[in-house]
């Protein structure tokens, strides 16, 4: 049986296919092909591209799909489009959005049982659930209403700060350490968490009067406003200056989120009696929140790397396979490299077409490590692309973290983004504990899902990857990792004495991460980078 899970009908359209007979899983995000960040479905043609990509990965045809599982129960029109395209003969199943978030996280975690907490903005009338995962089943303990959404409140604050809205919450997270949580108490006065895990938001955190929404005709903007924020400070419109008040608001909503989510996780542990915690939903993409949860005494914590709607297709398919069909668990997410791979020939062709000087047959690792040690910024393109929002070494921009001003250089000249946004370090498991303070027995830091405190050694040796509050969103590679990415870090460490690299996603402001060599070359030409490494090729600007 072949099961297709699809979701992200509001944003981040994606799918996953599970071939039950061969126990194989493929997944893909539409934005990588469409080149529209957070891909919002606009027309029917958009729908099949990622499904075909998954079929190609598994070497099957569309007609081999037996069951289609939708990761939403809301009546999106695109469900009918899919049915028309794939044929009415297949079985079509609807699964609640948060059940998919929970299933994606729990069934991919490899944990036999765990407390599950999902949190996002809203979906199918809920903003989160508390659940108990055991073996092949998930029991929902509590369902949080979408009227009481802490995730949406975080998005509102982001909107109010003029940083964007959905998808820009990471900017608020990056700004938060610059401020003081002066509004935290006022926030908490508006939030009530019941012992059951239910949550109620006060009147001021609700949206504006519906009469105005009708008059303005704009429900979406209505969702992004509330009285609480308007009473604190006027909404900022980019590019108005970011003031201390804005930083304080960012710090306040971050602390509020950490407090609320922390309490919900504690309640989930109490109600399930489990020592392990699994996290799903877009809110748990907040690595600072996940870092705080490391201090709460859980035995293991697993946040799904594509916890937002980017992983909803996977969740829908896993839910059907295990919860509905009762199949034995076989899948554990060890790698997020499920995207497309390209031969060196394609890279060479793209580079030559763009007029780059191509060098073949050289030791890419050695040359790249030396370039990094000299302060050069390189584009790194290897193997299959990553699923999810984080570049984990196959579509990355890499730089030397020893230079304190490297953060400002990359923000301004390469990524063209806000000055306050930090960059992440990557290190090998053997070296990372010397620079960063984290409990390896509690969490794997393979997927850059946690922010951890930096030790003094890191602050001194690699200041470009330590944020203003002394933390870093660390990626740790296993000591046995022999990918070119790991070998590059080792070689850089041997050359400089600092086995840590600065890693950021290979894209420009407002674009998805590059997927194909052509896109890598375009981004390389647009940004102020010095060297492009695609497979075993080196590309230089002529």
């Amino acid at each position: 049986m072949v099961v297709l899970g699809i979701g992200g009908f509001m944003h981040d359209y994606n799918c996953a296919i599970i071939d039950l007979k061969k126990k194989r899983v493929a997944m893909f995000e539409a934005e990588r092909i469409s080149r529209r960040k957070h891909h919002v479905i606009r027309k029917e043609d958009d729908m099949l591209a990622p499904i075909r990509q998954c079929c190609d990965t598994l070497d099957i045809a569309l007609r081999h799909i037996d069951v289609v599982v939708f990761g939403h129960t809301d009546p999106f029109p695109c469900r009918e489009w899919i049915k028309e395209r794939l044929g009415r003969g297949k079985k079509y199943i609807d699964v609640d959005h948060h059940h998919c978030h929970a299933a994606g996280a729990f069934f991919a975690s490899g944990l036999e049982s765990a407390a599950i907490v999902t949190l996002d903005g809203f979906g199918d009338g809920a903003s989160g659930i508390l659940a108990h995962g055991r073996g092949k089943s998930i029991d929902v303990l509590e369902r949080l209403s979408d009227q009481d959404s802490i995730g949406l409140e975080y998005t509102r604050a982001t909107y109010h700060l003029g940083l964007g809205g959905y998808g820009a919450e990471g900017k608020t997270q990056g700004l938060a350490p610059y401020g003081e949580p002066t509004l935290f108490d006022r926030y908490m006065e508006q939030i009530e968490i019941l012992p059951s895990g239910q949550m109620r938001l006060g009147e001021a955190l609700r949206t504006q009067a519906s009469r105005l929404a009708v008059e303005g005709g704009y429900l979406n903007a209505q969702l992004l406003n509330n009285d609480f924020l308007d009473e604190q400070l006027p909404r900022r419109i980019d590019p108005e200056p970011i003031t201390r008040d804005h930083m304080n608001l960012a710090a306040s909503i971050q602390k509020t989120l950490e407090t609320v989510a922390g309490r919900l996780c504690t309640i989930a542990r109490q109600r399930t009696g489990e020592a392990d915690l699994v996290l799903g939903g877009g809110v748990t993409m907040n690595s600072s929140l996940n870092g705080k949860l490391l201090e709460q005494g859980f035995r293991r914590i697993f946040p799904l790397p594509m916890a937002s709607d980017r992983g909803i297709g996977l969740g829908a398919a896993l839910y059907y396979v295990h919860q509905v069909l009762g199949e034995e668990r076989f899948f554990k997410l060890d790698s997020v490299f499920h995207g497309q791979a390209f031969a060196d020939k394609a890279g060479e062709s793209a580079m030559r077409r763009a007029g780059l000087r191509v060098v073949k047959g050289e030791d890419v690792i050695e040359i790249a490590a030396r370039a990094l040690a000299e302060g050069k910024i390189i584009g790194w393109f290897q193997g299959r692309s990553e699923m999810g929002a984080r570049a984990l070494g196959n579509r990355s921009i890499l730089a030397d973290p020893r230079q304190a001003d490297m953060k400002d250089i990359i923000n301004a000249r390469v990524k063209h983004r806000e000055w306050f946004r930090p960059f992440a370090p990557v290190a090998l498991a053997g070296d990372a504990p010397g620079y960063f303070d984290y409990p390896p027995e509690v969490a794997d830091l393979d997927f850059m899902t946690f922010t951890t405190p930096a030790r003094q050694a890191a602050r001194e040796a690699c200041p470009a990857v330590v944020h203003v509050d002394g933390t870093a969103r660390l990626q740790v590679l296993r000591a046995t990792d022999d990918r070119p990415y790991a070998r590059l870090i080792r070689r850089f460490g041997a050359l400089t004495g600092v086995p840590v690299l600065l890693n950021t996603s290979f894209n420009d402001q407002g674009e998805p991460i590059v997927e194909a060599p052509e896109e890598a070359v375009q981004t390389f030409l647009k940004a102020d980078m010095d060297l492009l490494c695609i497979g075993n090729l080196l590309g230089y600007k002529s």
């Binding site: 509001m10 944003h11 957070h38 919002v40 606009r42 998005t155 982001t158 909107y159 003029g162 964007g164 809205g165 959905y166 820009a168 504006q208 009067a209 009469r211 105005l212 009708v214 008059e215 303005g216 005709g217 704009y218 429900l219 979406n220 903007a221 209505q222 969702l223 992004l224 406003n225 308007d230 006027p234 909404r235 419109i237 980019d238 590019p239 108005e240 407002g510």
Partner: protein, 324 residues
């Protein structure tokens, strides 16, 4: 020879032949002979189905469905309100304040500049912004007023600083007075189009469901001052509000106006708003076109395409009229 004995059409033909040659004269005369009412009234080219109020129920349903579909399309394209700033990528600094705007060039040769004023809370009643075929488009984003959702392109607390910014922006973007200037907008943007269009003496205005009497809107909200976006405009007294009717009354001439209004618009009731302005237009014998349709919501069936037709018609009929 008795000149009057020759039929008029032959006289016209010979007059044309004298100025444009026989070949062109015959072509033009044939075109005039064969034209239909739709050619005579260019606006009838679009939405002809909606032109007359008598419709069968089936037509009515189809129209409502079309409107709904258009609304859904617009909502889909504006799905994420937080990305509206991307629609207005440019920034105009004026004193210590800034305003974002879009400037979209015409697809082909430009015949003028259209200033597009959006509705409250960034809403586009005519769907997502599109380039015009023959007009450049300038669209300011009003991020002032109540909760920064709109100040009627005028100002706050009795201070019309936004209107000054808009005028400065138009001056910068429209430096050549010989280039025709037009204004269009809906609801709050309809007020903006009327206010700025009449103030600047633009060539024509296309407005949908505009607020006309802001003082009346202030009192609509009764004692709910906290959620009153109109109250946010006024200073100490009602006199500090922009008075569109007085502005129009003081003008010797008014720009041609095409206005679309739902008969039962619950936000801007026809008698309290559009009708009063049209009454003024009527009194001054100024040109106006009005399409009332029996909708019951705060919307209309206008479009950028229709606005372009209207502006083109104005230019075609009076190509040498005075520019602002």
């Amino acid at each position: 020879m008795n000149w009057r004995a020759i039929p008029e059409k032959w006289r016209v033909l010979s007059t044309r032949a004298a100025t444009m040659g026989w070949r062109e004269a015959v072509r033009v005369s044939l075109m005039h002979a064969l034209r239909t009412p739709a050619d005579v009234i260019p606006l009838a080219n679009c939405n002809t189905k909606n032109y007359f109020p008598r419709k069968s129920q089936a037509e009515e349903r189809a129209q409502q469905k079309g409107l709904r579909r258009a609304r859904e399309d617009a909502a889909l394209s504006l799905h994420d309100a937080s990305n509206i700033d991307k629609i207005y990528p440019l920034v105009f600094h004026h004193g210590e304040r800034l305003i974002r705007y879009a400037r979209i060039p015409a697809r082909s040769e430009s015949r003028g500049l259209v200033v597009f004023f959006h509705g409250f809370n960034s809403w586009f009643h005519t769907g997502p912004l599109q380039p015009f075929e023959h007009f450049d488009l300038l669209a300011p984003w009003d991020t002032f007023g109540w909760k920064r959702q709109g100040s009627w392109f005028w100002g706050e607390k009795g201070n019309g600083f936004v209107a000054e910014m808009i005028r400065a922006l138009i001056r910068e973007q429209h430096p050549d007075p010989a280039v025709p200037l037009f204004c269009m907008g809906s609801s709050m943007g309809g007020f903006g189009a009327l206010w700025h269009g009449i103030s600047l003496g633009c060539r024509a205005i296309y407005a949908m469901a505009p607020q006309v009497d802001l003082a009346a809107k202030v009192t609509d909200y009764g004692s709910d001052n906290r959620n009153n976006p109109y109250g946010f405009l006024q200073g100490e007294s009602m006199d500090s509000l922009p008075d569109l009717l007085r502005l129009a009354a003081e003008r010797e001439t008014l720009p041609p106006l095409f206005l679309i209004q739902n008969l039962y618009d619950p936000v801007n009731e026809f008698p309290a708003h559009a009708y009063r302005l049209l009454d003024l237009y009527h009194g001054k014998r100024a040109w106006y076109g009005l399409r009332v349709h029996p909708g019951i919501l705060h919307e209309g069936d206008g479009s950028q395409a229709e606005a372009e037709l209207f502006f083109s018609m104005v230019l075609d009929r009076a190509p040498d009229a005075a520019c602002p």
